[in-house]
């Protein structure tokens, strides 16, 4: 009763305390959400490959930090397998997009415009590539550079006309750009090579059977399911950005604990006379511990709700405005941060509670 009433008595103090905890929660959720969102979004191209089996040069197990080259005749050898329904080539290499002096890392993808396999799966504006010299740019990349349909852009060392803007093809530090297969072969100096084949199984063959058949029946290539290839590619990104992001999350958690601790310290300092009175009246130390913990718990719970709501708002606003920066807040994350907030509240109230438990009850008689 006293825990709640004392908190509610000073609404400004309560609001500031809740705000402090909410900031900690917001910080942790946004940092973690950025981490999860980025690692999820970064494999968007693989995730939209229609569950194909990916065929690549042996030794290549992910898309971002390796270069795969396969002879063009691999298509003939793949389609000779009874388990294979189709094998579509793509050429893909990371490059540097330069526009009006601005550099942006991006990924050039050449695909067979006749089948459309490996091409953009969702268009915001315009159409897909139909002939040489045309490009579909990611809409976020185009927006950042002020590029519109019909503009001419330079890819590597050639000029292309923008005929379409694609959705879902931006991921933090990477933007996918689509051109025809012959253009990509010329632009990326691939000659008669391609990077990957996207292979679909015949009815009656499972993906696992198809992968085994390719590995056994086509020498000089390797094969992975789209899920495995995406997972491997994500792992590479995690090793690149995971440590700094995890460090920032840990710092956010420490800031949260410090905020709760400082809040509780200030709160108990303001209530010291009241706690002294309670001790004088005969209230036990452990009961005052409970009062302090209840106040910390209440502030933490309210702070968590406000912080989580703000994080959700950030998820929506950032996702909508930026597109390439995604904050993904998952139920697991919410549960983990709720538990973390409870731990923050408990840790943050240890010193204030000890202070209260040691208070001299004679303070009640001081005038």
């Amino acid at each position: 009763m006293i825990a709640v009433k004392n908190l509610l008595a000073e609404k400004t103090r309560l609001a500031l305390s809740v705000l402090g905890v909410a900031l900690g929660v917001l910080l942790i959720l946004v940092m973690t959400g950025l981490f999860v969102g980025t690692t999820r979004q970064v494999t968007t191209y693989i995730d939209h490959s229609r569950n194909a089996v990916w065929v690549m040069q042996p030794g290549v197990s992910q898309m971002f930090k390796a270069v795969s080259w396969l002879p063009a005749d691999t298509e003939r050898r793949l389609t000779a397998l009874p388990e294979v329904a189709s094998a579509d080539p793509i050429i893909g290499l990371p490059s540097d997009f330069v526009h009006d002096g601005t550099h942006t890392a991006y990924f050039v993808l050449g695909y067979d415009t006749a089948t459309g396999v490996g091409g953009p799966w969702s268009l915001d504006q315009g159409r897909t590539v139909e002939q040489p010299g045309e490009v579909v740019l990611d809409r976020i990349l185009a927006g950042k550079n002020g590029i519109r349909l019909g503009d001419t852009v330079e890819l590597v060392d050639e000029e292309f006309t923008v005929v379409g803007l694609s959705n879902q093809t931006a991921a933090a530090t990477n933007y996918y750009t689509f051109i025809s297969l012959p253009d990509a072969a010329r632009l990326l100096r691939a000659r008669d090579r391609v990077s990957y084949f996207l292979v679909q199984p015949n009815p009656g063959s499972s993906h696992d059977q198809l992968i085994a058949a390719i590995r056994n029946g086509v020498p000089g290539v390797d094969a992975y399911s789209a899920a495995t290839f995406a997972e491997n590619s994500r792992d590479i990104i995690v090793t690149m950005i995971g440590r700094p992001l995890k460090t920032m999350i840990a710092i956010a958690a420490l800031v949260g604990i410090a905020l709760v601790g400082l809040t509780m310290w200030a709160l108990t300092a303001e209530q010291l006379t009241a706690f002294g009175l309670l001790r004088a009246l005969g209230v036990q130390s452990h009961q005052l511990w409970r009062t302090v913990l209840a106040q910390a718990g209440l502030i933490a719970a309210l702070g968590y709700l406000v912080g989580a709501a703000a994080a959700f708002a950030a998820e929506v606003l950032l996702g909508d405005r930026l597109g390439d920066v995604t904050i993904a807040i998952t139920p697991t994350m919410l549960v983990a941060v709720a538990a973390g907030t409870a731990v923050m509240a408990a840790l943050g109230s240890v010193l204030p509670a000890r202070r209260v438990a040691k208070i001299d009850p004679a303070i009640a008689f001081h005038r």
């Binding site: 009763m1 006293i2 009246l281 036990q284 009640a364």
Partner: protein, 253 residues
């Protein structure tokens, strides 16, 4: 035994109706100090606060402790209230020697057998009058309904039923001290220890509050020890103890 909180026929260890702990019958005198000494500071800087005082308080008695500032009144009150452990001597509350008790047990004795009144009232500003009175009851584990019923009954007996829902900021000084009196009586203590309870009140209000305190204490079977400079309270006291330089100079009946 009758439960002092809900007046139900109660037997140890707890009242079955309100859950108040039921202690053994208090011996008489309910409060005793025997040759109690206390010093503040150490070595050459030590100041004697109590120089071997002996006094006792009987059940239902109203005792005034008077004397000049620095004479040891407040120190004596802290010792009686188990808030200060004296250097030597014996302190008995309800016949129990408190010298060997751990702090936890002393706190329990304070809650169950002693009530406190302060010069500055020391009400919790966030709580209403009835909630302030119920504070010791709730911390003693008494059911909320029983605690609020007891608090309401006490406020009513002190003429404050109409102020039960008001917070301290909305009360006059006299009303605050009467709410504090109700809180001191809430647990049905053997002794109420009051530290200058009328110092912040005008003479008429101070006198009225003191009379109500004495009457309510007697009605509840509690003794009262009032530390005060206010000589106008002499006629509500059964006994006046004059304390100066840490020693009892005289006792007037």
């Amino acid at each position: 035994m009758r439960c002092p909180v809900c007046h139900f026929d109660a037997s140890p260890p707890r009242c079955s109706r309100c859950r108040r702990a039921v202690l053994g019958e208090a011996a008489n005198p309910v409060l005793q100090l025997i040759d109690v000494t206390h010093h503040y500071g150490t070595g050459g800087a030590a100041v004697q606060a109590l120089g071997g005082i002996t006094m006792s308080v009987d059940r239902g008695e109203v005792v005034l402790v008077v004397g000049p500032s620095g004479g040891g009144k407040t120190t004596a009150l802290l010792v009686m209230g188990l808030l200060l452990t004296p250097d030597s001597g014996t302190v008995r509350v309800a016949g129990e020697d408190v010298g060997a008790l751990a702090e936890r047990e002393r706190a329990t004795l304070r809650l169950m057998r002693l009530g406190f009144l302060f010069q500055d009232y020391n009400l919790l500003n966030s709580l209403t009058s009835v909630e302030n009175v119920a504070v010791p009851l709730r911390y003693a584990g008494i059911r909320k309904s029983a605690a609020l019923a007891r608090a309401t009954e006490l406020l009513d007996s002190l003429g404050l039923a109409h102020r039960a829902g008001h917070r301290p900021a909305e009360l006059s000084g006299g009303e605050k001290q009467r709410v504090a009196t109700a809180r001191a009586l809430a647990m049905g203590p053997e002794v109420i220890l009051a530290d200058e309870p009328t110092a912040n009140l005008d003479s008429v209000t101070g006198r009225k509050v003191s009379e109500q305190l004495a009457e309510a204490a007697k009605a509840n079977g509690a003794a009262v020890v009032i530390v005060t400079h206010d000589s106008r309270l002499d006629d509500i006291a059964d006994r006046v103890v004059h304390l100066e330089d840490g020693r009892i100079l005289e006792t007037a009946g």
